[in-house]
Symmetry: D3
Subunit: 126 residues, 6 copies
């Protein structure tokens, strides 16, 4: 799998990399963006969507990041689980919060599968 480094990137890719670095205050972009750079329109669209979605709003940045991690771990994406665990820690997730998040994830997985295996009908009014 090719990773596009800044030095080798086309101008339209550099513009996105520069915005990621400035927005996040980091020296280099993650491998995800370097891999996505093989298709510049998808790189640009994905970054702009992500920036909009993760901006503070009714939910604070840490909560958003933990939701992102929960969804990624539930989907079994190893890369995403690793990078969003790191991002959540950088935003303030403590060991205790991580442990409880893991406990919720595991419990959800168990009850999700039991609900499906039993074909439980949705409760009236929901």
């Amino acid at each position: 799998m090719a990773l596009v480094e800044y030095a080798d990137a086309a101008p339209e890719v550099r513009v996105v990399f520069d915005d990621i670095k400035a927005t996040r205050g980091v020296a280099d972009v993650n491998n995800f963006w370097k891999a996505l750079a093989v298709h510049p329109p998808t790189l640009k669209r994905t970054w702009e969507s992500l920036k909009q979605v993760m901006a503070p709003g009714a939910l604070d940045p840490l909560t958003k990041e933990m939701l992102y991690l929960a969804a990624s771990a539930a989907a079994g994406c190893a890369y995403c689980t690793a990078s969003h665990t790191a991002a959540a820690r950088a935003k303030g997730m403590t060991d205790a919060m991580h442990g409880e998040l893991l406990a919720v994830l595991g419990m959800a997985a168990e009850t999700n599968r039991l609900a499906e295996a039993l074909r439980v009908p949705i409760d009236q009014g929901l």
Copy 2:
């Protein structure tokens, strides 16, 4: 799919149903528990685990419920998505918070799949 109603439940099932109703302050248990009552040991173990996992801790109850919802929606469980959306709303999730949670879910799904389709290597140090 059989749902076990309180009136027809064995004593060991009633004990669990009573504890769910008392803990949650509800008049009746959800269909999930009525379905799970077909196997009393699993009913008892699952409820006791859930009660422990969802108790307030380093994460507040609303955050735990939204994480549960995110994991359930990411896993595609319709029953669980319906019931945990209702539970999160009961714990204070507003329309705006729900909208942002959905946006994070959608974004996570997209980037999860792109990361896997591109086989992105995990960033050094993670």
Copy 3:
């Protein structure tokens, strides 16, 4: 979704339906086969593969059917869960066996997700 009934079926479809009915000793085929009949080559290939795979071998028919149910429930297929639960019951799965199968399914879901969320390295020698 169109379901192809025997009366309306092309000869190549009837041949497969006849074999399913004879092999299983049933009066009519399940909806799955009626739906699959929209593409006769896939109907024929799928049935022949299934017949070969589910024949008694090193594993007995009930164990095979419970494995099929476990895999289908883990994959979240509602139709498949319903039909393989029925098939397993017809082959001798009792309430107690079903309850234990559900417990294993739920436990597997929980530990699967925890193992992935923690990115546990595979034990040496495996």
Copy 4:
């Protein structure tokens, strides 16, 4: 990902590790438990649930282990597939049984997806 070794483990973690080793008759616990030890309440709860679920009952230990493997493989968990394949072999799964289990898994995956892609309605009476 941190793995907690016995020598570095807190007393509450050692109690669980000791019980795993005694129950299974092994010299050391698997990486899964060492990773889970980052959150001792989840370690304890998960082990106690697993011990209860996997105890002999209406289903024998080998059948339970093969169901665990089928569910784990269907969920795509590499760690779990590796460890439960080893566990099933240790409980008596032969090459022929493993081959047939794989065949059922593959067949289930194919028919699961076809049933969903065709949106097959659940058969009457199920």
Copy 5:
């Protein structure tokens, strides 16, 4: 689940609905967009992304639609499978093409699971 109809929609929602109707030449938008209208920023962003992604490019519209259908069916999304099957048919997918797409989907599901259950190492050079 609330569906927002045009008559009840806020101006920012109507702008998106109008663009969907004009772009697709349809009298009303699908339920998906009516449901997504509960969060107008997500509605707008999702539609604009979709319009860009599905525009003709190196791949023709029918191929894109069939890829969308394959991905949706593989993910087990019933709504998406139904709507993208209809969309692909509207763009020229014949019964024979649909049948072959289903056959590929089923085969992929089977070999995906076998490859994971066997933990096949990626071939050198890939």
Copy 6:
């Protein structure tokens, strides 16, 4: 995980390997087939099914291969994604086509999850 090399293969395995090599014009078979050779009946059945499904028909070989890739990536199978990306490139998938396929995959993942999280009812007439 054992990989069965040609030199060590039983005659029934060699027959399949020979047919794969002749059909595809390759010097050696992929690891998938070497792994599957641990169960010769599954090896033979899977190859014969695959050969039939991937033969040219109403859909051309490149379209079939891209559908296979889309389904495999949506299912999160790393081995399958790697091998079918290579196969699609060998059949003519350009960088631009790959980029657009990735964009469709990502978009499908996002809208699949939103449709499920919102429990969107299937549109009338579908």
